[in-house]
């Protein structure tokens, strides 16, 4: 779902939120954690993945997400989620995982019979 950094299937090489600066990099040179950004557009739509931002903490993530993805308006709500907290399905599993089970005919309304001549069921 999310374009998280584990795109290669490797463990994401990012620090956990709150541990920024504890890595080997010099102070001020470490990479802030990555956050996935979800925006809700006006009109009661669901939150949709917009992209990602780097930030040291949740407040900064929200502020950066606002500046990058909601700067031009058209957004009424923002979510930010640490990328590392997202578990995504693997694309190679997509076939069996999302098989709709079309052979289960009893899941479809056409399977059931109603009296002939009945209108507006």
């Amino acid at each position: 779902m999310a374009e998280a950094r584990d795109a290669t299937g490797q463990a994401p090489p990012i620090d956990l939120p709150g541990t920024a600066g504890n890595g080997a990099a010099a102070q001020g040179e470490s990479q802030w954690p990555l956050w996935e950004v979800f925006t809700q557009k006006t009109g009661g739509e669901p939150h949709e993945h917009a992209g990602s931002v780097h930030a040291a903490d949740p407040e900064m993530a929200l502020q950066n997400a606002r500046d990058v993805y909601a700067r031009r308006g058209g957004v009424v709500s923002l979510w930010v989620v640490p990328s590392i907290e997202i578990t995504a399905s693997q694309s190679e599993d997509a076939g069996p995982l999302f098989d709709p089970g079309a052979d289960k005919v009893y899941r479809h309304p056409q399977f059931y019979k109603i009296p002939r001549g009945l209108k507006g069921f």
Binding site: E3, A4, R5, D6, A7, T8, G9, Q10, P13, I14, P17, G18, T19, A20, G21, A25, Q27, G28, E29, S30, Q31, W32, L34, G51, S52, V53, H54, A56, D57, M60, D67, V68, R71, R72, A88, Q90, S91, E92
Partner: protein, 315 residues
């Protein structure tokens, strides 16, 4: 599946017009080519703020100043959209920034030219953003999902950039003779570099065939350049200014404008670091990175402090 089978399945997906997403299997070469293209593109947006930022303090009116600030802010946003897309390929953003600051990574040659007068700001919006729109509209259909989505976002904002630039030029063109001359001078200086910005000629672009096959690129550099020229000539005519190419004329057979020889030696010199402003641009980025160090350190210290405080204390 073996590497060969994976490769065949990938090529089949591309051929079927499917979009490739970050977690999908892709050949290493597809990944590295995209990282190269996307990071160059992102760097261009970031460095592109410099020539225009040069005129923010000297914009001729408050209205023009507000517009220019908004435009430069957009460019920063565009850089961030594309860095975010590039990161989905498994590369770290700080690595990309390091490559820019060390001079290892390339960015668009056009931003190594100086902005000498206010008219340059108009011409940049009109030509440079105009050429970028031609390129990015096509990239919005690229096979890699995150890149295509970043382009869609960018294209929505880019039209404002081109239009405000063209309006600056149109205003100068109907102003005093000095203002009109200033606009013409800016056009004369920026026209050829803008054509070069769309990349080397197809005969000299070794990556094109592969990128076209993978649908990363959908049009060749020469096709994009021709489209940009065809769009721009009537726009110049409409404001009574001329493009500095005596060979520029409409060809009824091809239904395109023929144009003169591009000085590719100049292009390669600029790409290799010898344009008028290459050193200045990189130095400005390095200074910005250094001067921002204390902000990064402070934000990290603040986040660490809050993290400690929110930890439940042992009973």
């Amino acid at each position: 599946m073996t590497e060969e089978e994976l490769n065949a399945a990938f090529e089949a997906r591309i051929a079927a017009g499917e979009t490739i997403e970050p977690k999908d299997w892709m050949p290493d070469r597809y990944r590295t080519q995209l990282i190269r293209m996307m990071s160059q593109h992102a760097h261009s947006e970031i460095v592109g703020m410099l020539p225009e930022g040069n005129w923010i303090t000297r914009a001729p009116s408050l209205s023009r100043k507000m517009t220019l600030i908004a435009k430069v802010q957009d460019e920063a946003g565009h850089g961030l959209y594309i860095y975010c897309g590039a990161e989905t390929l498994g590369v770290d953003r700080s690595e990309l920034v390091d490559q820019l600051l060390s001079g290892k990574a390339k960015y668009s040659s056009i931003f190594n030219y100086p902005t000498l007068t206010w008219a340059d700001i108009g011409v940049i919006g009109w030509f440079v953003d105009g050429a970028a729109i031609v390129n990015q509209t096509v990239l919005a259909k690229a096979s890699y999902g995150p890149y295509a989505r970043a382009m869609i976002r960018i294209c929505k904002e880019e039209n404002f950039h081109k239009k405000q630039g063209y309006e600056i030029i149109a205003t100068l063109a109907r102003g005093t003779p000095e203002q009109k001359a200033m606009a013409q001078d800016a056009i004369n200086r920026w026209w050829w570099p803008s054509l070069m910005m769309l990349g080397p000629s197809d005969t000299d672009s070794p990556n094109t065939a592969e990128l076209m096959r993978w649908r990363v690129k959908r049009k060749t550099n020469d096709e994009l350049r021709q489209r940009f020229i065809d769009l721009t000539v009537p726009q110049a005519d409409a404001v009574g200014l001329t493009l500095p190419d005596p060979n520029l004329k409409y060809n009824p057979d091809t239904q395109h404008y023929d144009f003169g020889q591009i000085d590719w030696e100049e292009f390669w010199a600029v790409v290799k670091g010898n344009g008028p402003c290459n050193r200045e641009r990189i130095q400005a980025r390095r200074d910005a990175h250094e001067n921002g160090r204390w902000v990064r350190e402070a934000a990290e210290a603040y986040a660490a402090k809050h993290e400690r405080r929110s930890q439940p204390t042992a009973a």
